[in-house]
Symmetry: C2
Subunit: 158 residues, 2 copies
């Protein structure tokens, strides 16, 4: 980072991400069990698959950033079989993200990390990607809910 004119602190970015994660959790809850795993539009993935992707990125990605080891990307976790499994994994990661976050030094955010052995960017850019990717796919989940005739949560409620 150019040290000039910093406008977002480490604490603020975590709070923003966890706010988004609270909204994503509400979207998971809003899906009916069956449709969470089966429904989609336009040949896309069901929302559960997107949630598995978020879970495969967040804690594994932060773990690599903290420990500087190689972490495999694995979104095929077969133990997540129903909505409650996903919510439990989600809540577990909420705590793990807070713990890992406190272990990242400010300098570390601007070091390059070859995330999952394939995304070589400064850590901060990888983390912004984690968040943006979640917002992007959650927006798609909103369309699935609308197509099912179900009102999604309010976007601005975090």
């Amino acid at each position: 980072m150019s040290n000039t004119r910093p406008i977002i602190s480490q604490e603020e970015l975590l709070e923003s991400w966890q706010g988004h994660r609270r909204l994503t959790r509400r979207v998971i809850e809003t899906f009916p069990e069956k449709e969470l795993f089966e429904f989609s539009v336009g040949g896309m993935r069901p929302f559960s698959e997107m949630v598995k992707e978020f879970l495969a990125i967040a804690v594994p990605g932060l773990t690599q950033i903290v420990n500087d080891n190689n972490v495999e990307f694995d979104e095929t976790r077969s133990e997540w079989k129903n909505k409650q499994d996903l919510l439990n994994a989600w809540d577990k990661q909420t705590e793990e993200i807070n713990t890992l976050w406190s272990q990242i030094s400010p300098e570390r955010f601007h070091e390059e990390v070859n995330l999952f052995g394939q995304y070589k960017f400064p850590a901060i850019q990888n983390i912004q990607y984690f968040i943006d990717n979640e917002i992007h796919h959650r927006g798609q989940g909103f369309v699935y809910l609308r197509a099912l005739g179900i009102e999604p949560p309010f976007f601005w409620e975090r």
Copy 2:
């Protein structure tokens, strides 16, 4: 902002936003003319209406943040009649955003702004909302494209 551990600079946030705006521009371009204004899923708005919302937020919102005056939210601009109108407005705002951005002092980002007379938050949170809202609705545009059998641009290409 707590001044401790800042991790994103003013310049980095602008670059991130403009990267997202370049992707949104590609999504606008990818829509067929008619479907941009007429197609939607689940009773939602067509993508053109979302784009008008982005345009009603970005430059008007930044203008209020810079000048500290009251700005009306108006997404009903009737002069945007076709895809080329939207792309022209988009490109004009790209330049205007760069100019306005350079007029925001670092301190200003953490002052409260009652945006459009109704969203009273620190300027930085309003700006993060501008970006997150664009990512969210653009993700919905991706679903519209898939439902039309059209491949969207790559999400990671900025």
